[in-house]
Symmetry: C2
Subunit: 410 residues, 2 copies
């Protein structure tokens, strides 16, 4: 008699056969009395196809963010309609709801919307009517009713937020991996699957590039206290449950995992006056453009002339926009130069126990040194340490660090 | 300084190049101060592609009408987004609105919705903001906000109804023909283009199969008194204006045109008791299923046994559903048989002057007789006469009748 939100991504619904497979699987696992809300993404490459279509009209369609949202939200609308039909053809009452119809209220920052609130009445009513409710992920509507997409990882966020608003028992995120690993198994063959992980640790892993879950969805799960079960689309065995605290003792290792992020770019603003407010000048301009800045280092270039360098990283996808913003500010500040480096990557270790274990950082740097990898920038948080390195050395770095903290069993 | 609604069909926006072409054309013809609302259909074969996709999930997707609407409304949503981008990339402010956002309120008869009302506030506001407003044709939303498609010819109806609600000066319907002809030019090479035609005549032409305009859109035009300008997507020369009355004397001929409809099927319910209420029994069942019945003939089969036959026609697209309904009623009435004939077609003549000219019918029947064409059913209205004939003879029939009333100039 549980209320469960199940989220299936684009690759899980890439074809009509797969859509039918998802419907069958969900019905096979459904216990009598279970109330089920499905959150689905657009089919496979639909979003890319739509973007290509827009590029047939105009070179840079993303400058028209509202119209991009109008275009892209059709992707999920197609998959919810088909999945609802699949359920119905199997004899299971079902109904599809766009983000707007499901009560997902957003702000008006098109293509990067945030959930402003959820009005779950319609979904609850349709559940009461005996339906499996199939909701379009990744999207909502603003005050005008205009469609707004939630940006990267939006479907996960939709699912978890909806689970929160519905007071669901759990939110299941189906992906092409079967849980959260101590490192990306594609890079580290010996990576270990975890049974549980805390929101805080997962949040840090995700923020630092662990691709399985987007940080925003974990934040939302934490805010609502909804356990998030990350599991495989292809098997029925349990995955990893993200929750507030461990229900079992699984903490055999000093760190929880090694995260990495290759989609990083470094921007260096060289030779700017070292006066108060300079950092604010640069980063408030970036914030205004909705660009997240990650690692930041300010270093002295010339102490006599009181001139400094400001170096920081942004997501690769934000680079061209960030460059435009920074160039403008740099000109105003009479900076010597703005340098861009794209071949960089970030490798991080994460673990709640880190604070109590001195020497963890040293072991990480040691593992990198052993692999002859130079560290460009270091940043730390309460539960993580990150190093910016050359992109080409990322694979080696992750393996070297993972091997240090999770030595292979003989 | 006119307010103009312009409707472009699916073939006019079939590719991104064509979408750009439409945007350029509209801007080239736009007078300073003109306020323009575009109503567009889904791109080319999009609707068919979506139906095929649904058939990948379930054999008869149209049984799930609400989900079909959820699916099909994405078609227009794609084209409005792209057309709005096209305008914007040409420097013209523009905004796309789905049927729901444009205030098109419908009933809840999914896949065959009717407009229940239009709330034009958003469209007017966006015009005031200086935008060309690009509205999704063919669709609206019901009380719940669920998407509803308007069924056949829905885009024309959307456009004309929106023009009415906006109190537009005119509604331009762009098609692949350049106006209304005295017969379908594909069948009758000598057919003549009309400068004007009244709503009533056009309505009758459309009802009788003239494919250019759907009857409902003409009805709506008449109700609001909006002149409808039917013109070509490919040329800029004027087409045919549909309005209440002629502004010029163009009535050189006794009839306005020859219409035909090949998408007709005949249903005969044979050997049913000739008692009061029989017709009601059959046709109320069909009405309940939302199936329009056209020509009806009741004839005596056996006067002693007081047994009768009921013969009528429906649109080919409704045939399978109609057959299901009729079979059920026929069984209840102990009918001898239900016969279906699909190779039939309807040819009609239309003209407001017909009433005052006796002998018109005789000339029509004469033209058919001359071509050795048998008449199966005849039906008449105040401004039209229709004959049901064999489908294979349709081309010959139309030409023979057209030649009788519109003799070729030497």
């Amino acid at each position: 008699m549980a209320l469960i939100v199940k989220k299936f991504g684009g690759s899980s619904v890439a074809t009509t056969e797969k859509i039918m497979g998802v419907a069958k699987r969900v019905l096979a696992e459904k216990e009598p009395g279970d109330r089920i809300v499905m959150v689905v993404s657009a089919m496979g490459d639909t979003t890319d196809d739509l973007i290509k279509l827009a590029e047939g009209v105009t070179k840079d369609p993303y400058q028209y963010t509202r119209e991009m949202d109008m275009l892209l939200t059709t992707g999920e609308q197609v998959s919810i309609a088909l999945l609802a039909m699949a359920f119905k053809s199997l004899g299971q009452p079902a109904i599809s709801l766009t983000g707007a119809l499901a009560g997902m209220r957003t702000d008006s920052v098109h293509t990067k919307g945030r959930i402003a609130g959820i009005e779950p009445e319609r979904v609850l009513q349709e559940l009461k009517n005996g339906n499996i409710v199939v909701v379009a992920g990744f999207q909502g509507a603003d005050k005008l009713g205009d469609p707004v997409t939630l940006g990267r990882g939006g479907s996960d966020t939709s699912a978890v937020a909806l689970a929160g608003a519905l007071k669901a028992d759990t939110c299941e995120i189906y992906t092409d991996v079967d849980g959260i690993y101590s490192a990306d198994p594609r890079l580290v063959p010996g990576a270990r699957k975890m049974k549980e992980i805390t929101y805080t640790e997962m949040l840090e892993m995700a923020r630092l590039g662990a691709g399985v879950m987007q940080p925003r969805s974990v934040e939302v799960g934490q805010a609502y206290g909804i356990p998030i079960h990350v599991r495989s689309t292809f098997t029925t065995k349990p995955g990893t449950i993200i929750r507030e605290d461990y229900t079992m003792e699984e903490k055999d290792f000093e760190i929880r995992g090694v995260a990495h992020d290759a989609k990083v770019a470094k921007i260096a603003v060289l030779g700017i006056p070292n006066t108060p407010g300079i950092a604010h000048e640069i980063f408030s301009a970036l914030a205004k453009a909705n660009i997240d800045v990650d690692m930041i280092v300010q270093s002295i270039r010339n102490i006599e002339k009181n001139v400094t360098d400001m170096v920081f990283t942004v997501a690769s996808g934000d680079l061209s926009q960030a460059k435009r913003v920074v160039d403008e500010v740099a000109a105003k500040l009479n900076a010597v130069a703005v340098l861009i480096e794209e071949d960089v990557a970030k490798v991080s270790i994460v673990g709640a126990g880190m604070l109590g274990s001195p020497g963890i950082a040293a072991r990480m740097f040691g593992a990198l040194a052993k692999a002859n990898i130079n560290i460009d920038i270091i940043s730390t948080s309460e539960i993580s340490i990150s190093c910016l390195i050359k992109g080409a050395q990322l694979n080696e770095a992750v393996n070297s660090i993972h091997n240090e903290f999770f030595p292979q069993q003989a």
